[in-house]
């Protein structure tokens, strides 16, 4: 290797003094990066913050602030609470997300257990198909499911049940990935010890493995719920009319038609719901892992 001369440091002229400073000493205070990061955060979050703010506007304007009011949440005839379309969409979203969690999480957890413990011929293929469903662009899955329910499963047809089936299949990958990661870090020792001590397979599963997996299952519930309540493509493809309209579908269809602040209120409510759920989940997760760490000898 040839000996290299140390290149002259790039000098910032007076105009770019800050950038020059940073290039000369990047381990000091990287002002340039601070500016970029803060500008990014503002760009990323301010529009949403403004949208939430306007859900509390006192008039029907979405562009000029006229004072604080909660009339778009409850009170006004077109508020989320009083307009049956908005309230229906919110109820539909919550129902779909809850039932999707109830199907996708148990299916995903059992699948993760099977993949981890049963290394037979079929497990590799099953894992491959599952991962493939996870990375396929949603529009392809949405169209495939729509045609499936129209052409082959006509008895069910598009609608709420189809939405629930399609979404629970698509969301199954999250619990599988989260629970598998946890299973790999636990190892098999605990349940084998339990069975040495006389537990039956099901007992060891219920009383040893499941408690150890609780944080991962909890995390899966939160992730699947938040992802389902925000899901648009699959829910929209399989929706038929007002009875299967969720919040994202409603926002999509009315955002360009001169919406009222109540649409912002509806969107804000789902945001509050996911934030609350994530906060509760994070709190429970930390408490649980701290208890486990405390009960384990160092």
């Amino acid at each position: 290797m040839s000996t290299r001369e140390k290149p002259p440091e790039p000098h910032g002229a007076a105009a770019s003094l800050r950038v020059g400073d940073w290039l000369r000493n990047p381990w000091g205070r990287p002002r340039f990066l601070w500016v970029v990061a803060i500008a990014y955060m503002a760009w990323s979050l301010l529009p949403v913050a403004i949208a939430v703010l306007f859900s509390f506007n006192a008039t029907r304007s979405l562009t000029s602030w006229q004072g604080f009011s909660t009339e778009w949440y409850v009170g006004n005839v077109s508020s989320v609470w009083d307009d049956p379309v908005l309230r229906g969409a919110l109820a539909q979203s919550l129902k779909l997300a809850t039932l999707t969690v109830a199907i996708a999480v148990p299916l995903g957890v059992t699948f993760a257990l099977a993949l981890d413990r049963w290394r037979g011929r079929g497990s590799g293929t099953a894992n491959f198909v599952m991962l493939f469903s996870f990375i396929t662009p949603e529009i392809a899955i949405g169209v495939a499911l729509f045609l499936f329910f129209v052409q082959l499963a006509e008895g069910i047809g598009p609608g709420f049940v189809a939405q629930l089936m399609g979404l629970s299949m698509f969301m199954m990958a999250y619990p599988v990935i989260v629970v598998r990661a946890r299973l790999l870090s636990i190892g098999k020792e605990y349940e084998e010890a339990a069975m040495d001590l006389g537990a039956s397979p099901l007992e060891s599963l219920r009383r040893v493995l499941l408690p150890l997996l609780a944080p991962a299952i909890l995390a899966s519930v939160v992730i699947v719920f938040a992802a389902s309540i925000d899901n648009f493509v699959i829910s929209q493809q399989l929706s038929i009319g007002a009875n299967t309209q969720t919040v994202p579908i409603l926002i999509y269809s009315s955002a360009r038609r001169g919406p009222l602040p109540s649409l912002n209120a509806l969107a804000s409510l789902t945001l509050f719901a996911s934030t609350l759920l994530i906060a509760i989940g994070a709190f429970a997760y930390r408490r649980h892992t701290r208890e486990q760490r405390a009960s384990r000898p160092a």
């Binding site: 290394r119 037979g120 198909v129 199954m172 996911s274």
Partner: protein, 308 residues
Amino acid sequence: MPEKADSGSRGAWFPPWFWPSFAAPATLWLLLLFVVPFYVILSIAFGDIDPIFLTPTPVYSPLRWDFGPFRDLVSAIFTSGSIYRNAFAHTLVFVSVASVLCVVIGYPVAYFIAKHAGRFKALFLVLFLAPFWISYMMRMLAWINLLQPNGYVNRIFESLGLIDAPIYWLNGKPVTVILGLTYGYVPFMILPLFATLDRIPTSMLEASRDLGAGSVQVFRRVTLPMSRQGILAGLVIVALPMFGDYFTTTLLAGTRNTAMIGNLILTATQSSLVRTGASLVLILLALLIVPMLYYLRATQRAQELFAA
């Protein structure tokens, strides 16, 4: 064979049918709702059309598949001036520009959080993860509010003296679509970039400086090569869903001139051109199969890494 010995030793604990039976419900669900629906797509794309009602009749036997209409569609995509050609061209341009913008914006942010946020690291992580649980539709709704003719964007531009009359951002402007896509997907770019950059030991960067490299050289010869995997993963993660995106352009532009492949697929499947729609899905997947397999492989490798 280690596999056999393995299962034998475990047989002492669990009956052999125990774990496979756990996989059964999910496998059934995947077969019924993922594998079979894709077979339906194939059967429609290569199937018949009812001569009277013009509805598609799926042909389930591959022996009777007719590839003619599919081939015609592919050649239509290569015919200049056709709506198919235009939509593919738009999609390619929008996705490429937006993906590059995602790297340009996401890299410094990820680098900052990984290396320079210091005691604010946790706070910045939470803030930059926030868009993951804010619904995509709400994030687009926020921009629709801001980009109205009398919205904040135009008002700021006017007060700065940049424009005299309000700009109609939402009337079929490709710029708006590209910015919308970038805004929508950049968090998905930052996540893998952060994971990669966070793993580069700071001591290694310091060592290269001690050996005489300037900061530009450290970046070009150490940081950038070591984060190449993260950039590639990030590009795949943002580009895959962008290729299938149809809602961003509908919401922010809403004209035929800004239609993407996704819009073509939906208008086709919702009209009488169901066979064309199914074929377009197959073409989209064929276009994306290489990045998809790369992503699949990366996910599998991550799983194996956990196992090791």
